[in-house]
Symmetry: C2
Subunit: 384 residues, 2 copies
């Protein structure tokens, strides 16, 4: 269950010495074809890292032969020198594979404002090329971890024997339009680039895009889907979209479960909204309330802070008639206290918040985490 589960892919993960921890830090995923169709989505941040600036050009023609990733430094806000490093890495991978550098996606993660040692990085690339293997997926997944405590991998079986495989890293800046999240998805289905693009955008819209750990938007987020066509099976667009969505949802829940310093995974469901966009706006506003998130950490079912967040949005609702449940206990009905908050047991990891706007029939779910001492600690002392 990894990026090498679908046929037509090799991968590797090696130690180049970029990480102070001494762990694996360079990963390579190669599509051996026969097809090289791909699709990618990137962070919406306007201040993007050098690898993103490079890779956005790479993916334009819908062809990607390989993705090379490193942890131990994000190569972000590192100027022309940093961009030259990204370019050199793509060239080294391309030369090793006998392909063009313009078909090599580059991803970096770690501290921003830090220039990676180019020699070290290129040494890692050379080694990664030398140990590429059809069973190398797990090594690649390990090499992209930063503050992640576990590697995130997935495989989804499509009908007729094709698969979608995937790996992800990200435990901190999960936020709007992705977040220090690097994801590589592979499939041996036969698919054109435009179909892959629609499938990937549909999948990320309701998965990674609705994961909002701390409201911060990253600079390096990249999700790349490569299709080798090695199964020989041409799925329908619906079949492909469903499998890619399942893979993304699975990886998103793995990211949520491992978010930096979190004690609780919070699922916020907004119902009876006038539109899906308004449901998302309301859910996201609650997901970004430090006060609400600190209350959940303290096992306090503080529904008042939920209403206070809803009140900051422009969604349609009657401020005097909102209902809120926590873990299915309707602690607030008609914007006033109802069932006893003492009935809400917040001792477990999973917390659900359900909001009825009574303004329509649209709904959406946003996932977030609580705000904890460990979050503050990790992000005040973060250095790798």
């Amino acid at each position: 269950m990894s990026v090498t589960s679908p046929r037509g892919f090799r991968a590797s993960g090696v130690t180049a010495g970029l990480k102070t921890s001494g762990g694996k830090d360079v990963a390579l995923v190669v599509n051996d074809g026969p097809s090289y169709a791909s699709a990618s989505v990137f962070t919406a941040n306007r201040c993007r890292a050098n690898p993103v600036l490079w890779s956005q050009e790479v993916v334009k023609d819908g062809v990607v032969r390989a993705v090379v990733l490193n942890s131990g430094g994000a190569n972000c806000y590192t100027g022309a020198e940093g961009f030259a490093t990204t370019h050199a890495v793509a060239e080294a991978v391309a030369e090793g594979l006998g392909v063009g550098a313009i078909d090599v996606v580059v991803c970096s993660t770690g501290l921003i404002g830090l220039t990676n040692d180019r020699g070290q990085l290129l040494g890692g690339v050379a080694e990664a090329l030398s140990v590429l293997d059809a069973a190398g997926g797990p090594d690649a997944a390990a090499a992209i971890m930063t503050t992640d405590t576990v590697a995130k991998q997935v495989v989804v079986e499509g009908p007729d024997g094709w698969r979608v495989g995937g790996m992800a890293k990200g435990a901190g800046m999960l936020a709007p339009a992705l977040a220090t999240m690097l994801v590589v998805l592979t499939t041996d289905a036969v698919a054109e680039a435009d179909v892959l693009d629609r499938a990937l955008r549909a999948a990320t819209r309701t998965t990674f895009d609705r994961l909002d750990s701390d409201g911060c938007m990253s600079t390096n987020d990249t999700v790349t889907l490569m299709a080798s066509g090695a199964s020989g099976v041409l799925p329908t667009e619906d079949q492909l979209t469903e499998a890619v969505t399942r893979a993304c949802a699975d990886l998103a829940m793995q990211l949520l479960a491992d978010a930096e310093g979190a004690d609780h995974s919070i699922t916020i469901t907004v119902r009876q909204a006038a539109s899906e966009d308004e449901a998302v706006e309301v859910g996201r506003s609650v997901a970004r309330s430090n006060l609400f998130k600190a209350a959940v950490f303290g096992k306090d079912p503080n529904w008042g802070r939920v209403l206070a967040s809803i009140g900051t949005t422009s969604a349609a609702f009657d401020p005097a008639d909102l209902d809120v449940a926590m873990n299915d206990v309707w602690v607030c009905r008609g914007s006033a206290p109802d069932e006893d908050p003492a009935l809400v047991d917040l001792s477990g990891r999973e917390v659900s918040v359900t909001i009825d706007l009574k303004a329509g029939d649209a709904a959406a779910t946003i996932w977030t985490n609580d705000l904890t001492h460990a979050y503050v600690h990790e992000n005040s002392a973060y250095s790798s």
Copy 2:
């Protein structure tokens, strides 16, 4: 230096038993005239507390005779019963003063979703009426404290002997368009309600509105300015605006210095913006980055997180040409590392961040705090 420093005002602060701490919890500020002109601003939150719903009606005619405030419960999301309590409090004050209830502003602060004991509250009102005094300002300021560690008061001297006095509470939800912030301002200047309204809006726009402690918008925020005219002096509108702005700025800095659990007061100045609105947007985005604020707590001059926040805005700038200074050390120039971050000493309380957008000649300043263990603790265990 209090709300009773200007002539024509009496105030009191008493213990009604609403606060579990046993401290003063009911405050009253009365304008004895000869003029009763006033102006008020309220939270922009659509889910507002009962006292705000009441007081927004009270202030419409520009006449306010008294402001009654309680801590120990916000009377927010407490339904019709809570509104009836607010109304009963206004009636009790009105009866005691021989005025109309529709000229009595009511403010409450404390836990939301909690109904105050009406009998206790009315008992406090009766006592507060009985001890009204021209030297009662400090008692009133003490009675509105919640998690505040010190009372906040101010007096500003205008030309020709008139004054502006003020008191404020708020240490937590300082945020856009105010935040659990209750402020009463008094002046013995002669001023019409429309002049007071313009002066107050001008003053709050660049002071309380630019204080963003944790990004959360409160449900109870109220700022009321009352003019007694007792000095007999009619200042120009500019003089009045300047004095009110100085009073608001002073109180805002007192709130910032006492923000819940904060180790650092952070002043974010955005320069060379295309417009003041864009400067505010950029400053606010940085002020709301949990990652940046946790870094400041950890004494880490993490300018990369500043750029990542700027990149989420729609302001005009070149992502490859941003300059950022922390405590006047230009750690980032041209969106790349410049001066050594080790030169930034973050051991003191005051931290400055200066951002040059190089897109125009507008500027704005936003004030915020760092994100600390103490913030998480206070807001996970907050119960009064």
